[in-house]
Amino acid sequence: MSRSKIKVLVQSNYSRMVTGFGKNMKNILLALHKDPEIEVVEASNGVPYGRDMATPWESYGTYPSNKNILKAVEGNAAKKRAAQYGFYHIDEIVEKCQPDVFLGIEDVWAFREYENKPWWSKTKKIIWTTLDSLPILDHALEVEPKCDQMLVWASFAEEAMKKLGHKTVSTVHGAVDYSHFKPLKNRNELRNLHGLDSDFIIGFVFKNQLRKSVPNLLEGFVKFKEKNPDIATKLLLHTDWGEKLLGWDIPRYLKEKGLDNGEVLATYVCHKCDDYFIQPYSGEDKDCSICGSKKSVKTKNSGKGVGEKELNEIYNLMDVYCHPFTSGGQELPIQEAKAAGLITLVTDYSCGTDSAYEHQGGLPLSWNEYREPSTQFIKATTCPKSICDRLHEVYTMSEDRKSKLIETGINYVKEKFSVQNTVSQLKHFIKNVKNRSDQGKEKQTGNKKPVKKTSFEDLLEDVDRKDRIAVVMPESGGDILMINSLIENLQELYPDKKIFFFTKPEFFDFINDNPFIHKVLPYNQKIDNLLNLEGVAEHEGFFEIAFLPNVGTQKVLNYIHNGKDKNQFELR
């Protein structure tokens, strides 16, 4: 039966999540939902499977909600990441909604192993991903031939992939709903309200991550101040100042650069009344002066930010927007700043090449190359002198040139980054892919995991190896009490052996009265390996006999048999 609409399953961040992918998801779904030729289904990474997401369209969370799956992924970084990217539920979702086209919008490694999924070869698929550094990630080069269309968010990635022979890759910028971002007429009033008066405000809106070049910006700001001591200037960092684990410890850097706190401002948001304030940073969990709530005021973070109307006000407090970074997928704030009527200073590497130049309403920041130690990718370190020079250039710029540059930026965002433009391009690719014939698929092979060996000879040394018996039962009280009732007979059966019992320490009390146990020892997961315990090939092992009765009852349910199994002999 043919459908009247093309059914597109879009997998990405939840459309209500305030992330680059989340905002993009919201904008494209709202637009595609109204398109008479398309039916959208949302698959949201990070939302538990089964939760009602209350969207106008059919939607599913992709994160596991089953406790058993959650237990299995907990403590295993690779499995947890796969779960966060929806790996364990996407098959059911595809099976349920039977899409004509699968549109995956995520980091490219989110689609690892997707080519081996049963539906992959039967479904048309578009991978729309962010690639932020050179050389292009190997996995992107592997995925590209396995999907029907690969799209990238930034043109530099398209160019690099084309140079490597991946000729069909195209650029579609993430959808920016710029309608909230515009120059405000009451800009001066707003500045007065926040006590900024006639200061020259340099702004940076960012998630506090190490790839945002905060130290470079601070250094550039210091140089600008030294060069222009008569200019009253302030730097507004709209970010999560409290994020010191995965981001920059900004207060420490302020001290290091000799910056008085008053010269660098933060955005505070009240988690109770949603009001925001621009103030020098003075820690987190402050009391709200507006609603009176205690410890409700924090700098903006990924869990709580300001709304788009308020963010536009924040851009309007600025005189220039400066975005130095090592690399990035699209950097939505750059487009938002342009739409809000700001000249943008952007590092001209990675996606910055789509925003940094004069014909794009910006000025480029020069940079030097360095290699990221862990990945060896090329990254940019933005020159503080360039930041200083560009700030000076904007400050001294004629009003005429400034107006032209701002107007160019506003029009550039409308033309290249608007939701309409992005959706129209996407629709073109969706229709194109839907009508394309199937292509051959490549197979991949995985790596074998090395077998780990365990050594605990020192716990057993008082008994000869040939005289040892191990009984393992990690938990729980009832099971250990049951094993307890077998030990006397076990000793009778092996009168010359010594019995070592392994369990978790909290269950020692269930067994340690048993006089036929030689030692009760703490259980460790590594013990669950019979060949390691008893020996194999050149490994002599630790025990003559090891029993792992937990394997068939706790690791695998191998005893239920619908209650129909029988014994031909008496066990009691």
């Binding site: 009732s485 077998l486 009265d513 048999h561």
Partner: protein, 369 residues
């Protein structure tokens, strides 16, 4: 069917004997008591209606005490006479040993009670009881209650929805206890227990000014729109408003309004913005199935859920028949109306309309005596 111990015995190649396990002395002053044990480490094992069991047992055997045992990490059971938290399972074993009977979920205290040859009532839901029921002691001492699971096989899942152990009615457990203690059985019969029965709430139907303080209140302006009767409550309580129409600025400006549940088929955008700007959480409930998709599109930044009362009533009528029955209601909800406090909307409305029960069915326990 193989019991777990038989699986273990076959694995080790030996016959089943008795465990070596000695209780450790623990001072206890009660003499006629029942030990009770629950745990929510495995949610499927945790029974939600122990307090009802205790009420029923005590309605027949008034003197008996219930002593909850455990390490202290377990959820406390309401209505127990004491919760003795011990540092070792051996001390709990001592308390079990001195009890008239032990009642509990499938867990180690049940096995210890059987080792000590105590009368036992044990309940099972997500597993076959025969694979893990009490092993030792006289079988005549054991009463094993397994959920009917609506005829389904056990899930063996750590978390169930619905929880099959809760299918066991409290009077079934209570009467088993009473029988083991040679007492008459109770005449109580549970007809229905709602999934949200244990959720506590205070509903104010603002027909007059109620004097309440330090509570979390649901103000039912959806049932009676008299704002003037609730303003005085705002400073002393935490309020949640349930409304069908936008409310006045005066009410919105009160500091203790934490959330608003707005029921409509077509929401007022200006009102929603105003509520949001005041930092009040707003929840939108669309009362028209036909319009919900459109409303979700218009107010995309809000998660709008469907509230179709008629459908809810009809759906719930299929769960229980109440006509021509004598029944009583219990709930953890309180309804303030006519200057009185009731435990259901049905009672607050003068027991006139059974639909009031079906509307709130999931928050109620319905039983007959």
């Amino acid at each position: 069917m193989s019991h777990l111990v038989e699986v273990y015995a076959k694995d080790l190649g030996v016959k089943i004997g008795k465990p070596y396990f000695q209780p450790h002395y623990f001072p206890i002053i009660e003499d006629e008591y029942i030990t009770i044990h629950t745990d929510n480490k495995v949610d499927s094992k945790h029974y939600d209606y122990w307090e009802e069991v205790i009420i029923i047992v005590k309605s027949v055997f008034e003197k008996v005490k219930f002593i909850q045992i455990g390490s202290g990490k377990e959820p406390k059971i309401k209505n127990v006479d004491s919760f003795i938290k011990t540092s070792s399972i051996k001390q709990s074993a001592y308390i079990i040993d001195k009890a008239l009977l032990h009642v509990g979920i499938d867990s180690s205290p049940v096995h210890i009670a059987s080792h000590l040859d105590k009368p036992i009532v044990a309940i099972y839901g997500h597993t076959y009881s025969k694979t893990c029921d009490p092993l030792w002691g006289s079988k005549a001492n054991h009463c094993i209650i397994e959920s009917h699971r609506n005829g389904k096989k056990p899930s063996f899942s750590l978390k169930e929805n619905p929880k099959t152990i809760n299918f066991i009615k409290p009077e079934e457990i209570a009467n088993s206890i009473l029988k083991k203690l040679d007492r008459e059985k109770s005449s109580r019969e549970t007809l229905y227990i709602g999934k949200e029965y244990k959720n506590q709430s205070n509903h104010i139907i603002p027909d007059e000014k109620y004097d309440i303080s330090n509570k979390t209140l649901s103000i039912r302006l959806d049932l009676l729109n008299k704002e003037e009767n609730i303003l005085h409550l705002c400073t002393k309580n935490k309020l949640s408003l349930i409304i069908k129409e936008p409310v006045s600025d005066l009410l919105l400006s009160q500091v203790n309004i934490s959330s608003i549940f707005y029921i409509s088929d077509s929401f007022n955008a200006n009102f929603i913005e105003k509520v949001k700007s005041l930092g009040i959480t707003i929840n939108l409930l669309c009362s028209d199935k036909e319009k919900i998709s459109e409303q979700r599109y218009v107010f995309f930044d809000y998660r709008i859920f469907l509230l179709d009362e008629e459908e809810k009533i009809n759906k719930n009528k299929k769960k229980i028949t109440l006509e021509e029955k004598d029944f009583s209601l219990k709930s953890y909800s309180l309804f303030y109306k006519n200057g009185e406090v009731y435990s259901s909307l049905y009672e607050a409305n003068g027991k006139e309309n059974l639909d009031d029960i079906f509307l709130d069915l999931e928050t109620l326990m319905i039983y007959s005596e």
